[in-house]
C-alpha cells in the first residue's frame, strides 16, 4: 500500500513541475507537455525512468513523461534484437495502447457527443 503514497507524491510533483512551466515559464500547455515528454525520454535514455516506475508505480507511469520513456524503451529493445533499424521499428511498440485507445475513444466521442461550449 506504500506505493499508493509514492504514486500520489511523485505524480503530484511531476504535475507541479508542469504547473511551474505554465505559470513561471509562461509556456503554453502544448509546449509544457512536449517539454515533459522529451524529459521523460532523456531520463529513460539514462536508465533512470524504470527505477522511478518501480518506486512510484502509477505516479511515474501515468504522467505524460512515461510516454517518452515508453518510446525510448521500445526503440532500445528492438534495437537490441535487430540493430539500428530496430530504433525506428520499435518506437511505437510499447505505446500502442495509449495512442490507439485515444484515437478510438475520441472518434467515438465525436460520433456521439457535441461540444457544450
Amino acid at each position: 500500500m506504500e506505493i499508493y503514497f509514492w504514486a500520489f507524491v511523485v505524480g503530484g510533483l511531476i504535475c507541479v513541475i508542469g504547473q511551474l512551466l505554465l505559470d513561471l515559464g509562461r509556456f503554453t500547455p502544448a509546449h509544457t507537455v512536449t517539454i515533459l515528454v522529451v524529459a521523460g525520454a532523456i531520463l529513460s535514455g539514462l536508465e533512470l525512468y524504470q527505477p522511478l516506475i518501480d518506486f512510484a508505480g502509477a505516479g511515474a507511469s501515468v504522467p505524460i513523461t512515461s510516454f517518452g520513456n515508453a518510446l525510448v524503451q521500445g526503440a532500445l529493445s528492438e534495437a537490441k534484437q535487430s540493430g539500428l533499424v530496430g530504433i525506428v521499428t520499435g518506437i511505437f511498440e510499447v505505446t500502442s495502447a495509449g495512442i490507439s485507445s485515444a484515437i478510438v475513444f475520441a472518434f467515438m466521442a465525436s460520433l456521439l457527443f457535441r461540444p457544450k461550449g
Binding site: L22, P29, P115, G117
Partner: protein
C-alpha cells in the same frame, strides 16, 4: 466635415432610428439582461454549428432593428457589418439573406464603432439613407478559431476575457427621432509590442488612450464634455492601464464617467469572469442596448463610445508577432 487630424463632425447629425440587441445564456444572467431584445438559453439555438449560430444572432439583430425602425428590408440602402470569424462569414452570409448592398468590415472588437462611424458618414453626406450597421460574436466560435477547442482543459489566466455571445445592430437615417451621431474619430493601429493573447486588455489600452486623445485634440474639448465615456472591452486590467496612461497624455479623465462595456455586461460573481467580457458584440450590445436606453430615458445626453480591437490572428501569434490594436470613437447625443 473633418476636424483636426482624424475626426469627422457630422453636421447633419444622422439619427439612430432604432437598435436591436440579441444575447446568449450568459448575457441573460447578467445585469443588463433587461436591455436585450432577445435572449437565447443555449449556445446553438437550433443551429448545427457555433458558426451558424453566430450568423443567426446577426440575422436576428438586423431584422429586428429594421422592424423597430418601421422599415422594410427594401428600404435599407446599405449594410455595414463585420465579425470575428475568418473571412467575416457571419456578416457576409447575413447580408446574403438580406440582399442589401454590403460593405464587410474587420476591426476585431472595434467593428461596432467602425461600422457606426462609416454608416454615419454615408448618411451625413447624403450618399445614402437608412443604413444598417451591425456586428455579432459567439463565445464558442471565437474560442475554436482563435484559441482552443471549447472542451479543452487549458487553464485561463486572470487576464483572459470571455467573448460575448450576441449581436447588436443599428439603423441610421437622415431624419427621425432618436439619438444622433455627432462625430467620430478613426483610430490608428497602435502596437506597443505586447504578445500575450490572453491579456488583450493590456494590448488595447494604448489604442484607446490614443484615440480618446486624438478625439479631444481634434475637437478641442476635454473628456468632461461627455456624460459617459465607455471603452469597448478593455476589461478590468486594460481599464486600469488606461487610467495609468491618461496623465501621460495630459488627459484629465473623470473617473465616475469612465466605464468599460466589458466590465458592465456580466456580474462579478458569474463563473469564469476573469478580466471581463470581449468580442465584437460586447461594445455593440452594451451601447445599442443599455447605454442608448439610458439616453432615451434622458439619463445621459452626450456619450463617447470607444470600441477597441486587437488585430491579431492565430497565425500572427504563432509567428511570434506582437498584437496591433485599434480603437474607434463615436460620439452620440440625445436631446428631447
Amino acid at each position: 466635415m473633418k476636424a483636426g487630424k482624424q475626426t469627422w463632425i457630422f453636421d447633419n447629425r444622422p439619427t439612430i432610428l432604432a437598435t436591436a440587441v440579441v444575447g446568449g445564456p450568459r448575457e441573460a444572467r447578467g445585469p443588463l439582461a433587461e436591455d436585450f431584445d432577445l435572449l437565447h438559453d443555449d449556445l446553438l439555438f437550433g443551429e448545427k454549428s457555433f458558426e451558424k449560430a453566430e450568423r443567426k444572432l446577426l440575422e436576428e439583430a438586423c431584422e429586428l432593428a429594421i422592424r423597430k425602425a418601421d422599415l422594410k428590408q427594401e428600404d435599407i440602402e446599405f449594410m455595414l457589418a463585420g465579425d470575428l470569424s475568418n473571412q467575416i462569414i457571419s456578416s457576409t452570409f447575413t447580408s446574403r439573406g438580406l440582399a442589401i448592398p454590403y460593405l464587410g468590415l474587420f476591426g476585431a472588437c472595434s467593428t461596432s464603432m467602425e461600422a457606426l462611424a462609416l454608416g454615419a458618414l454615408i448618411v451625413d453626406t447624403k450618399f445614402g439613407n437608412n443604413v444598417l450597421c451591425g456586428t455579432a460574436s459567439h463565445y464558442a466560435a471565437v474560442e475554436k478559431q482563435y484559441r482552443y477547442p471549447t472542451e479543452y482543459g487549458s487553464q485561463k489566466p486572470d487576464t483572459a476575457q470571455w467573448t460575448v455571445t450576441g449581436a447588436g445592430a443599428a439603423v441610421l437615417g437622415q431624419a427621425g427621432q432618436g439619438p444622433q451621431v455627432v462625430s467620430a474619430t478613426i483610430g490608428k493601429v497602435i502596437d506597443m509590442g505586447l504578445k500575450d493573447p490572453f491579456n488583450m486588455g493590456a494590448a488595447m489600452a494604448p489604442a484607446a488612450v490614443d484615440t480618446i486623445s486624438a478625439h479631444c485634440q481634434d475637437l478641442d474639448i476635454t473628456p468632461d464634455h461627455y456624460d459617459l465615456i465607455a471603452t469597448g472591452d478593455l476589461g478590468r486590467y486594460g481599464h486600469a492601464l488606461t487610467l495609468e496612461l491618461f496623465p501621460k497624455y495630459h488627459i484629465d479623465m473623470p473617473r465616475e464617467k469612465y466605464v468599460d462595456c466589458g466590465m458592465m455586461i456580466y456580474y462579478e460573481h458569474q463563473p469564469m469572469l476573469f478580466a471581463g467580457a470581449s468580442g465584437t458584440a460586447c461594445s455593440a450590445t452594451v451601447t445599442y442596448g443599455h447605454i442608448l436606453n439610458r439616453m432615451r430615458k434622458g439619463e445621459l445626453k452626450r456619450v463617447l463610445i470607444v470600441a477597441t480591437g486587437a488585430l491579431l490572428s492565430p497565425m500572427s501569434y504563432q509567428q511570434k508577432e506582437s498584437i496591433p490594436c485599434i480603437a474607434h470613437a463615436v460620439a452620440i447625443e440625445y436631446s428631447e
